[in-house]
Every structure is written in C-alpha cells, then in structure tokens.
Amino acid sequence: MASTHPIDIDYVANLARIALTPGEKERFSRQLGDVLAYIEQLNEVDVSSVEPTAHAFPVVNVWREDEPRPGLPLEKVLANAPASREQMFVVPKVVE
C-alpha cells in the first residue's frame, strides 16, 4: 500500500473543495497520518483472488416504467436556496 509518507493536504483539500486553515492542515495531516498507518494493516491480507464488494446485496437492473411523474414544485425546490430570483438560483458570476 501507498504511504508511509504524509498526506499532501493541500492537494487533497483542493480536490475536496474545502478551504482549510493552517491549523487544520497541521492537525488533519497528523491525525490522518495515524489513521493511514492503522489502515496499512490491510496490506497483510492476500486479496489476489478476491472480488470486491460494493454492496452487500447487489440488486441489479432496477428499472421503472419510463413515465412522467410530478417532481417537487418550484417553490419548494427554491425554498431552501441561499439566494434565488425569478425562479432561478443566484450564484456569483461564472463567466466574464
């Protein structure tokens, strides 16, 4: 398994889209280093001929009839919006 080297916290925080304070970076790096060291024990297990489990009881091909059904009304969808106007979500400007 990968790392005995510490986690690249800036890279991962960027992927996760979370701004971390310097204090959080230091603390999380250390704590996650401990957790990753603990996880290293999985290297002992021979998994060469084992299939992965994504779900304990895989249910496949779950289809429904392709029929239109009512969704949530607009006012309910927008009721929790941080900002909305004219039945739209308002966000900061994306394109110049």
């Binding site: 986690i7 991962v12 992927l15 889209r17 957790v35 999985l42 304990a56 941080p82 966000v91």
Partner: protein, 488 residues
Amino acid sequence: MSEPLHYRTATDLARGLAAGETSAEEVARAVIERTQAVEPKVRAFHHRDEEDALEQARASDRRRAEGRCLGPLDGIPVGIKDVLAVEGQPLTCSSKMLENFVAPYDATVIRRLKERGAVLWGRLNMDEFAMGSSTENSAFQVTANPWDPERIPGGSSGGSAAACAAGEAILTLGSDTGGSIRQPAALCGIVGMKPTYGLVSRYGLVAFASSLDQIGPFARSVEDAALLIGAIAGHDPLDSTSYRAEIPDYAEAVRSARPPWKIGIPGEYFGEGLDPEVRAAVELAIEFYRAEGCEIIDISLPHTQYAVAVYYIIATAEASSNLARYDGVRYGHRAAEAKDAVDLYFQSRAEGFGSEVKRRIILGTYVLSSGYYDAYYLRAQKVRTLIRQDFLEAFKRVDAVLTPTSPVPAFKRGERTSDPLAMYLSDIYTISANLAGLPGISVPCGLSSGHLPIGLQLIGQPFGEAGLLGMAGHFERHHDHHLKRPPL
C-alpha cells in the same frame, strides 16, 4: 403496570389505548411533560413542536373514536433522528451546513409512520452527518447519557438513544452506518436494531455512506423494536437498493420464539480491549442461552481485525462523494464572502462543516484520488468480501453470532475527542455487520459497578430479523435489565 405513561412500552400503550384506559392525547402530554422535566439535563432534542404533537395525538383519538384506528402505532409518540426528512420540519443533521434547511418531502419511513398514525415527535441530536460515536460532533449541543450526565450517550444516534432511555419518547428512529444505533442503545440501556441492508428504504435519509446506511428502531423492549421495524420495513421503488423481502409479523415472532438455537461465539470479539465487566455480563448471557438448551459453538471470524480499517476507507470514500452536494448553491450554508463561483464552494464548505466531517471528507477524497484508488478503496472492498464470507461461512453452523455491542460502557465526555483513531475503535464490534449487510440487535444485559448499562449484540443471517428478534426477546423475557431506569 405501575410505570408512568412516558416509560411504558408501545405494546402496552397500544393495549391501553384499545381498551380506552388512556388516550393518545394523554400519552402525548405525558411524554411532553417528561421531556420538559428532564430535557435540561439530557439535551436530546434540537427541535420540538408540542402543539403539533398534541394535534397529531388528538387526530389519533378521533380516528379511534370513529373506529378507524391505524394499528398498534396509532397515537404512539416516535422521536426522529435529525437525519430523516419530515416534510415542513427542520432537517439539520446537527450541522451548520443545514442549520436553516426545511425538508421539502417525507422520507419513506416517515410516510409509513404517518400511514400508521404514529405521533412524530421532535428532531433528535446526533453527530454531525452521523459521523461519530459519542454525539460530541454535533454542531449545536452536547447530549448527556441519562445514566450519568458526565458521560456520552454513544453515537451517532445519541439523541435518539438518550430520549428513548429517558422517557422523552416511547420509540425513536435512528440510522446505523457502523454501529450508530446499536452502540448508543447499549450505552443508554435500551434495545436498538440495525436491519439487513435493503430491508428499510433509505429514501429521505440524508446519505453518509450509502452502501452501509440503514434506518432502525430504538425501543425499551424487543417487542417494541419489532413493532417499529415491521412498520418501516418493505420494498420501496424510491430506493434502488431496497429489497423485495417478505415482511413477517416481527412482534408475533418475538412472542412465539422458543429455544433451542445454535449460537456462535467469535473468539475475535472477546480479546484485548474488552472491559472485564462487559465481558462478564456477556458471558452470563451466553450461560443463560446454554442453560436454555442452546448449543454454544466457538467460531472464528478471522478477518474481524481488519473491519475498522476497511470501514474507514469505504465509509469516508462514500461520504466524500455524497457530501460533495453541499456546495452552497442550491441549499445549505452559503459563505457570504466569496470571490467567485469556485471560491463559493471552498468557503461555504469550510464554514458549514465541522472538524470531523472535514477530516472524513479529506480522508475519503485521498483514498479515492488518482494513484491511491487500488491501494486503498479497491483493496478495502476486497477485504470487505472476506469479512462477509466469514459470516456466511459461520451461518452454515450457527443461527446467530453473539458478541458484546461495545467494548466499554459509556465513556466520559471529551475522553476521546482529540484522538480520532481511539474514537473509531469504539465501533469495533458493530462495524462488521454493516460491511456484511447483516442485521444486528443490541439488548441490555447488565449494569457495570458504576451503574452504566452494558449491551449484548446478536448478529443474524441476511433478512433473518424475525429469528434474531425472537432470540433477543427470549433473553429479555427472562431478565429485568430492560426495566431498569436511569437515575434522572
């Protein structure tokens, strides 16, 4: 029965309601008054609407008077973990991210409870986004263990467990991803059950780790847990992982179950780290079953030691993906000062999430990131297969596996908050059932010398809830642990 209304079981109250000895309004008032009296100590609720609960109770009484009673749960107050959507009510997941969120629809389990006339009562505290084992990760409040206010109630469904144990509700609902129902049930001295993955619809449950999450009951008797599980179980087209299983009469299964059974004792669950008093209480339970004619079989679940590591890869990976939806755009917290749209994500998530949630998102993102996926996530999924096979192999020889629920009784507040790994190990006996998708139930089996509850866990075969509840109920019938009340 001399118990006050707020401490009676749903089964008993249903009888009393049917006989006209009490009314749903009287029961609701008793629960409300009890909550007013003890809530300053317990702090289990985020939100309560007393008038709404009384109105639901009066509607139940009217139905009954008109001969339209909806079954044994009609008029029974059920507390709801603040992770399940109830239309028009707050849904916070104990997170600042959802502090002002109001659920726009009902979860399937909530719809089912409404159809059965249950009185939905309040929003119960939890670890933020169900991530934790002590309810200390709530962004809003600390819930006390009703047996000792200095101690944690367990988690993540700590509010649900504490409220039920303290008589602030007759029944409560929680969710269990790695032990979040069974562990707090054990630590608060009540019954808690995680059903087989797929038995209960997850529609309207805020997602943490989708391949592990299940909704389940807290109750003060096994029969009550059976009643609530029967009400919420069943196929739902709105959850693609929902299973088309036959739903038997679980409460009847509890009443009619009789030994002998074959019970497996996995040596791996009785090793280092198990508190001697917990061990002694669980061993007494094993001796009870033996004396009842059960065959007690030593078994091995050889991959047990890897369960926590597997869990913290899979659960955090799934969480990092599920919680990507909190971006400050459509709902949830939005940072006031963002330079642009992308900065809005960074700042909203930084402000909205607490430490443990950030830590888990970072870990989950890391184990899924390019170059590490095979080494961590894929390997964990393979070891998950081995853990599941251990159990399926054991179930060729035994009807159920008996273990402690938690290695220790309730610990003190603050004792584990600075060491995430120590906190993660709180779930060492409960996590495997989630990874293998199996049903597990925790039943009170004693008190420590410090008067803290101890729980016994039974893990059963896939969709073997009826048998498992029967075994648990048989233990309860011959003991009085479930009748002990916290010194509030």
